[in-house]
């Protein structure tokens, strides 16, 4: 009887030790697995982010090249052609006209060279980049564009700047190509903890309810906003223009 009691007590103790060892192992394995998975996910998210940034940079570059090609052909090319025609029928009194045309062309070349500066694309400064775009629109008489900055400018993260600029660029090109707008207004509002960007045109707009499967462009802009933790909101009504509000936490 005594012997049996001792024996069962020993069995009990070993089972207890086994149970506790088992618990420790399970706990360790489960948590380690989960931790590794989470770390891997984080790494992948970061990688995807980097890739997206690189792609966006390439897109900005492509857009710039397209603009340059357009300007060379349609703007500077036209001016030079005009100068050539003027020279062919040159006389003492219209030489001044020829010189004016050529200096206009020179001006265009100068402002164009500013756009091509690769440093400007790499180390983008949001306000300056937007200003350059707006100046270009006004110079080429595409649209009556204006930029307003409220509050003191705060330098924001380079990568976020690239993404935001590309979002704006996409909006601008949509406005110019499709909206038939005559006015484009950009407002950058810097507050203590966030940057509010509002871009609006007075074009034909679109009705949001009709576009249930949002256009690729719109979807793109929203995806990009999510990438940097910003919120993008479209407001549009048929024939009343389109507004894009971006809310970016500093």
């Amino acid at each position: 009887m005594e012997q049996e009691g001792v024996q069962s007590a020993l069995i009990f103790t070993s089972l207890l030790i086994l149970l506790m060892a088992f618990t420790v192992i399970i706990l360790f394995v489960v948590f380690q697995n989960r931790k590794n998975r989470l770390l891997k996910e984080q790494k992948e998210t970061k990688k995807r982010f980097e890739r997206e940034i690189a792609e966006t940079q390439i897109e900005i570059r492509e857009e710039t090249l397209r603009n340059i090609s357009w300007e060379l052909h349609d703007n500077i090319g036209q001016l030079l052609t005009l100068a050539k025609i003027q020279l062919q029928s040159a006389s003492a009194n219209n030489l001044k006209e020829v010189s004016e045309t050529i200096s206009k062309g020179l001006n265009e070349v100068r402002s164009l060279s500013k756009l091509i500066n690769p440093e400007a694309i790499k180390n983008i400064n949001l306000k300056e980049a937007v200003q350059l775009e707006i100046d270009r629109f006004n110079r080429l008489n595409f649209i009556d564009a204006s930029l307003k900055v409220i509050g003191s400018e705060i330098q924001i993260d380079k990568k976020s700047s690239i993404i935001i600029f590309r979002m704006l660029q996409e909006f601008f090109s949509n406005t110019i190509k499709h909206s038939k707008a005559t006015k484009l207004k950009v407002v950058l509002e810097y507050t203590a903890d966030q940057l509010l960007i509002s871009v609006s045109d007075n074009g034909i707009g679109f009705s949001i309810s009709k576009n249930t499967n949002k256009g690729i462009g719109l979807q793109n802009i929203e995806n990009r906003a999510n990438l940097i933790g910003a919120k993008a909101l479209f407001l549009s009504e048929q024939n009343k223009g389109t507004t894009l509000n971006i809310q970016y936490k500093l």
Binding site: A9, L10, F12, L15, F31, R34, L38
Partner: protein
């Protein structure tokens, strides 16, 4: 032999006080007071009344167990974020209170409330598992070893997993082998307070914000 447990309680309370700055902004801040309460009650009051005055001190331990379980449950209630899990904790606490009061009324005051103790330990275990479940789906898991709450929950998990079968088996064990009984009890306490101590020493302030 039993003094080992008192020494452990004392050392852990000292460590908890020494590292208080690390976790003063978290829900774990009450643990310092709790550990001193455990030590004072167990050693001074329990030991004094039991050993020197030679009077019965079981009633005191029954109250002590009620208070300490209520403390643990309220801690889990605080740190759980998920609403249904929080409510589950509340419901269990309610049942535990009823169960323990029932023991106070019905059972012999000279006996330990073993059933209430086992019931409390099971609830405690469930709370720990709920807490781990929540932890697994949160981002805190990356710096797990630096959070105090993880170590406290681990301590409670191991302690209770050992304690539940031990309490169920306790009478047979005392009768057959008093020494083994003591060894198991002390080992469980060593595990409990070692995990606490590791938590106090290893955890970092930035991960102990509530």
């Amino acid at each position: 032999m039993n003094h080992i447990i008192h020494v452990l309680e004392f050392l852990t309370a000292i460590l908890a006080t020494f590292y208080y700055q690390k976790y003063r902004n978290s829900s774990e801040k009450y643990f310092m007071r709790f550990l001193w309460f455990v030590f004072i009650l167990d050693f001074i009051i329990g030991g004094y009344i039991g050993l020197i005055l030679k009077t019965d001190n079981v009633w005191l331990y029954n109250i002590y167990i009620l208070i300490s379980y209520l403390f643990y449950f309220s801690w889990y209630y605080k740190i759980l974020k998920n609403k249904p899990l929080k409510q589950t904790t509340l419901v269990f606490t309610f049942f535990f209170i009823i169960f323990d009061f029932y023991s106070f009324i019905v059972e012999d005051p000279k006996e330990h409330h073993i059933n209430a103790f086992i019931f409390g330990a099971v609830i405690n275990l469930i709370c720990t598992i709920m807490f781990f479940y929540e932890l697994l789906s949160s981002k805190k898991i990356i710096n797990l070893e630096c959070t105090l709450s993880f170590w406290i929950a681990t301590a409670l998990l191991l302690f209770n997993i050992g304690m539940i079968p031990f309490m169920i088996y306790t009478e047979t064990l005392i009768r057959s082998d008093q020494k083994l009984y003591n060894i198991i009890l002390i080992s469980l306490n060593v595990i409990l307070y070692t995990c606490y101590s590791i938590g106090f020493i290893w955890s970092k302030k930035e991960y102990n914000q509530h």
